[in-house]
């Protein structure tokens, strides 16, 4: 395999990344003849033969196992909650996957457990070919999120907001005195005092806008130390 793109290069749709017979399709690429081409605007990260594309923009596409933040939008269907997960498709949460405990909906009703507008931190259990999405809450750490503020961000910057071994998000939580949940679907839930939430939001906005630039961690560190936006 011959790598044609350079490290850190901004790729446009159709740009050749590598050529040869042993090329493999990765996320954000397609194979055109014997060339691997980019299909989205992205930044190339190349280490030897290991190629990865960091997308600059793009809507969230659901995959099995993704941890997401969603908002309950419908509880009318029997035994089903419908959840807005910040993408083109609605997700469904069946009552039997909504908790480890038995939920007696006949006695208390559906809205007793989850009601309209409530926010949940959940996991995608299954995605069908036609994009029917099933969620689950049967796992430690998955819960209903009470209070707090929801904030959208570019889902492609999820890894950057989390940081290496969650270092970035832990730093933001610590310095701003807030509690933050970040969903892979481009939604962050922030809880704390109003001014602290504002500060945390500003930091996430900067990571969102400048996530592809090197030296961002240092900039965020300095910003949080000074307690003001640079």
């Amino acid at each position: 395999m011959k790598v044609l793109a350079k490290e850190g290069q901004i790729l446009c749709p159709g740009d050749a990344i590598a050529s040869g017979e042993d090329i493999k399709e990765i996320e954000g690429t397609y194979i055109n003849g014997n060339e691997l081409c980019a299909s989205i605007v992205s930044k190339a990260s190349i280490k030897g033969d290991n190629i990865r594309l960091i997308a600059m923009k793009g809507a969230y596409l659901p995959y099995e196992g993704d941890y997401i933040i969603g908002k309950i939008i419908d509880v009318n269907a029997p035994n089903w909650y419908f959840v807005d997960i910040n993408c083109a498709y609605e997700a469904g949460l069946n009552i039997r996957d909504a908790s480890n405990q038995y939920l007696d909906t006949e006695r208390y009703g559906m809205t007793h457990y989850f009601s309209y507008g409530e926010v949940i931190f959940s996991r995608i259990q299954k995605v069908s070919d036609t994009m029917r999405i099933d969620l689950t809450m049967k796992e430690n750490g998955l819960m209903k999120l009470n209070g707090g503020v929801l904030m959208p961000f570019n889902p492609n910057k999820f890894a950057r907001i989390l940081g290496k071994d969650d270092s970035m998000i832990n730093m933001i939580q610590e310095k701003t005195n807030t509690k933050i949940f970040v969903g892979m679907n481009g939604l962050a839930w922030i809880s704390g005092k109003a001014l602290d939430i504002k500060k945390a939001k500003e930091v996430i906005e900067i990571i969102d806008a400048e996530g592809h630039i090197e030296g961002l961690t240092k900039k965020i560190e300095d910003m949080l130390k000074k307690g003001e936006k640079k």
């Binding site: 901004i10 159709g14 397609y30 809507a59 083109a88």
Partner: protein, 250 residues
């Protein structure tokens, strides 16, 4: 002297368009100056503005989002909708606002051209809407619209095979040339004007739009398409540069 003879004498004395040269002194293969920018509409997923000479087109992309109305949703691929509109002050005579036969047709033509460049199978049961506003029209508005829409789709992060450049080539009297202006389209002497808009996918070497309005011989059509493809490749380079400069300058 009879009227017929006077007419014949006039035709003999008239210089051909090839001999006089183009109205704006451009060469046959020369395009008008082009400006492009992306991502300036904050409420859109992606947006672009393209200026080709005096023609200005603005495109905004919304989605992928839930397909509405539900009965139009496609189970296995993306539903792409294109709306083309001439702003009322974009032409010398006021254009009547709202949809017209022409805008509906152009919306459909642009949609079918763009659909070829998008991986529609990646977004089943969803919808992407492309709104195109032509703010100033001086011929070649559908080509400017296709360039703007393609850039806006790339800016929105939709997975695509390639960016799609487009250009209007054609024949004025006896001269085959690219990127016609409104004055050239209205040149009715000699053989008159022929307008051939072309959209082209350079990576796939595929023509996705080819329309013809006027009269042209087979050989001249082949020549016009050839010239159009060369021009499209040049526009393609500029489109890529526009995207790169947005992220590299930061």
């Amino acid at each position: 002297m009879t009227a017929k003879k006077t007419e014949e004498k006039k035709t003999e004395s008239r210089k051909s368009y090839k001999a006089t040269g183009r109205i704006d002194k451009r060469k046959a293969t020369e395009m008008r100056p082009m400006e492009m920018s992306i991502g300036f509409l904050p409420n859109c997923a992606g947006s672009a503005r393209v200026k080709v000479g005096n023609t200005i087109a603005i495109a905004g992309v919304y989605g992928p989002k839930k397909a509405r109305p539900k009965h139009e949703e496609l189970k296995d691929k993306l539903l792409l909708r294109c709306y083309y509109d001439l702003v009322s002050f974009s032409v010398p005579d006021r254009a009547r606002p709202g949809p017209s036969r022409r805008s509906t047709e152009l919306g459909m033509v642009i949609k079918s051209a763009l659909e070829r460049s998008i991986f529609t199978e990646f977004y089943p049961r969803s919808m992407v809407e492309v709104f195109i506003e032509v703010v100033q029209a001086d011929a070649g508005s559908r080509c400017a619209s296709i360039i703007a829409a393609s850039l806006a789709l790339a800016d929105a992060g939709i997975e695509m095979r390639d960016l799609m450049p487009a250009v209007a080539c054609g024949k004025i009297d006896d001269l085959v040339c690219v990127d016609l202006t409104k004055a050239e389209e209205d040149y009715h002497e000699g053989e008159g004007p022929t307008d051939i808009p072309i959209a082209y996918l350079p990576n796939q070497d595929e023509i996705t739009l080819l329309q013809l309005d006027g009269k042209i011989s087979k050989e001249e059509l082949a020549q016009a398409i050839k010239m159009g493809i060369v021009a499209c490749k040049e526009i393609h380079k500029q489109m890529k540069q526009t995207i790169r400069s947005k992220y590299e300058k930061r």
